[in-house]
């Protein structure tokens, strides 16, 4: 079994296991029968599953306003009115990649079971509008990794899988699916829970990372042991790689626990440096994103095994306010003790992270402190806030609420 999901319990019920295999076989048959260049989704048990909310994928600011001001009924109605729908026929479009036999015409597709072909010009009836794509999810980079993994390991299911997890109502689902089709995103699995929390489903899908704009849900996910973060849109768009997935992590309270950060906040920097030097050889406890770094590492190792280290389509970065000389060693030793590698470790010694991240151009940057998140997104980096640890009680170094007991 894959090591990417060490906590998966195998089905002990023989009937259930057989049924599961049959379902898998049937789905495989169906996807293979679709005349499409898109590959089928991998087996969840082996995949690196990324759960995304609908607002992470699409800009639903206007829709959200309707929901908040006019209520659920009006919101659902609005979404239905703007579906890309023409009763039985669905007009599908694909992004312009120069594929398709007939670029100048739009082709209505009778059977919804066929995947879209052809590259067509913009054609929208008055009410047929897809949702606006946020471009925060690095869909292309993730799929490039998958393509390369499939070439090297054609029988492996250890691939990225993106699942839409939303508590939106199912009737909004049609517009979401149509919009996914419009941008040709590689998302085949989804849960639209009609108002309930998606957290239970995250676990059922063995999710490795959950991205949402809702801080409550993200906090719940972290409490359940799932790596999760709140997405923030950058102020400007940056050109990002489509051939290499680049992920940047903060250290304390993201990859590692907040134990050291507590010392900084409560006793100051000098105490912190002393403490870290003394404990250099004691590994830090793990933080909420450690398991995601681990999952990325497992995929990276598959490339290394095939001599592709120099050309690996996944690159990881540590971007920490720690300084290398006084507190960096402990971090590197901790990673080593976990058997994890990080491609580039950048110690800023307190300097702002924004400019450096602008140079690195990661697809996503995880940090626990809003101060850093704001600095990063102001300079064009897609940033994700990890609401964990003592950093939540501070803003720019100042305590923002009375100190409570640690959890």
């Amino acid at each position: 079994m894959s090591e990417i999901k060490p906590t998966v319990a195998t089905s002990t019920d023989k009937n259930e296991a057989t049924a599961e295999e049959k379902d898998w076989a049937a789905a495989k048959a169906h996807f293979e029968s679709l005349k499409s260049t898109k590959p089928r989704p991998p087996k969840p048990r082996y995949a690196v599953t990324i759960g995304v909310s609908s607002r992470t994928l699409f800009d639903m600011v206007a829709e959200r306003k309707i929901f908040q001001e006019e209520g659920l009924e009006k919101y659902v109605q609005h979404q239905q009115d703007h579906e890309m729908n023409n009763s039985d026929r669905l007009i599908l479009f694909t992004k312009s990649v120069g594929l398709g036999p007939n670029p100048s015409s739009s082709r209505p597709i009778d059977s919804l079971n066929r995947e879209p072909f052809g590259h067509v010009p913009s054609y929208w009836k008055k009410h047929e509008k897809p949702l606006k794509l946020t471009k925060d999810l690095p869909d292309r980079a993730l799929m490039t990794v998958n393509e390369r993994l499939r070439k090297l390991y054609p029988d492996s299911e250890e691939l990225f899988d993106i699942v839409l997890m939303t508590n939106n109502h199912a009737q909004v689902g049609v517009r979401l699916i149509n919009s996914i089709n419009h941008y040709d995103l590689t998302i085949e699995r989804f849960c639209m829970t009609g108002g309930q929390s998606p957290i239970g489903y995250l676990k059922a899908y063995m999710t490795n990372l959950y991205l949402s704009k809702d801080s409550k849900k993200v906090q719940e996910a972290i409490e359940e042991g799932i790596a999760a973060a709140i997405m923030f849109k950058p102020e400007m768009e940056t050109q990002l790689s489509e051939t290499q997935l680049r992920v940047a992590f903060d250290g304390d309270a993201v990859l590692f626990s907040d134990e050291s950060e507590i010392i900084v906040k409560q006793h100051g920097l000098d105490m912190f440096f002393e403490h870290e030097k003394l404990n250099e050889n004691t590994p830090l406890a793990k933080g909420p994103l450690k398991c995601f770094l681990e999952a990325l590492g497992k995929l990276q190792k598959k490339f290394y095994a095939k001599n592709e280290r120099l050309n690996c389509p996944i690159r990881t970065f540590l971007v920490t306010a720690r300084s290398a000389a006084s507190s960096g060693a402990r971090v590197l030793k901790t990673l080593r003790s976990w058997g994890l590698e990080i491609d580039e470790a950048l110690f800023l010694a307190g300097a702002p992270k924004g400019p450096l991240l602008q140079k690195i151009r990661p697809h996503i940057f995880f940090d626990d402190q809003m101060f850093h998140i704001e600095g990063a997104k102001d300079m064009g980096t897609i940033s994700a806030h990890v609401p964990y640890g003592i950093g939540q009680k501070y803003n720019k170094g100042k305590l923002i609420e009375p100190e409570k007991q640690q959890k």
């Binding site: 789905a27 996807f31 109502h169 989804f190 489903y201 676990k203 899908y205």
Partner: protein, 238 residues
């Protein structure tokens, strides 16, 4: 998953549900020393409670409501033969039969949750034929195709009932679950149901992912899958 059948037939008027006596009460766990207190609850108990809630709310809204659930209990003197006969008759007369999902006590009592199979409703005839390469026999595929027609009747009625309530706080919650199909199959299922008058509340598209963990979270009371569970439980060909 539970393999107990619930048969639904609509003559004009109420949605009739026939249920076996031994699903409502758990006869197997009665010991000889029990006193005369009520029988322990069987696996259909929470389902019945949820059905009652729907009826109560419908009547609350409209005292003369005729579209209600009506439950008939079938006494279980039955031998295995008789049970088989019931199952066969149901198939013979094309009476829609749904799967009564295994109910634990933590199932919600005040909301009836019904799942429709996205695969049954969303797959086109041609796509179903592709399944013959993967261990599904001709008859199984034919049954599958016929299931869609059976489901429609029930879906129309549930749709009418569902429309008596708003999006929030409804005692009846409807879902689509597609296990095999791609997202477009699922979209087709949603739209087909909408054409039949049913706007479902929740939708899950698994595209081959195991469904038990998802069902454990959804916690449905009944599951319309067109006999899919029979196809899945049968042993795979060597």
């Amino acid at each position: 998953m539970a393999v107990s059948h619930l048969f639904v037939q609509n003559c004009a008027g109420p949605l009739m549900i026939a249920l076996q006596y031994n699903d409502l009460f758990d006869l197997l766990s009665i010991s000889t020393s029990t006193n005369t207190d009520a029988l322990p609850k069987g696996r259909a108990f929470t389902f019945i409670k949820a059905v009652q809630t729907v009826n109560e709310r419908l009547v609350d809204q409209n005292k003369t409501e005729s579209l209600l659930f009506e439950v008939i209990l079938i006494a279980k003197e039955c031998s295995e033969e008789i049970k088989m006969k019931i199952v066969e008759s149901v198939k013979h007369y094309g009476i829609p039969a749904a799967l009564l999902y295994d109910q634990a006590d933590h199932h919600v009592l005040n909301q009836l949750k019904v799942i429709f199979s996205g695969d049954v409703i969303g797959f086109s005839e041609d796509s179903l034929d592709s399944l013959s390469d993967f261990g599904f026999g001709e008859t199984q595929i034919e049954t599958f195709k016929a299931a869609k027609i059976c489901v429609k009747e029930f879906a129309v009625l549930i749709g009418q009932m569902r429309r008596r309530f708003g999006h929030e706080n409804s005692p009846l919650c409807t879902c689509v679950l597609s296990v095999w199909g791609s997202r477009n199959i699922c979209a087709t299922a949603l739209k087909t149901l909408r054409e039949w008058g049913l706007d479902v509340d929740e939708v899950y598209c698994l595209a081959g992912a195991p469904c038990s963990p998802i069902l454990a979270v959804v916690k449905p009371h009944i599951l319309w899958d067109g006999g899919l569970h029979n196809m899945r439980d049968s042993s795979a060909p060597s």
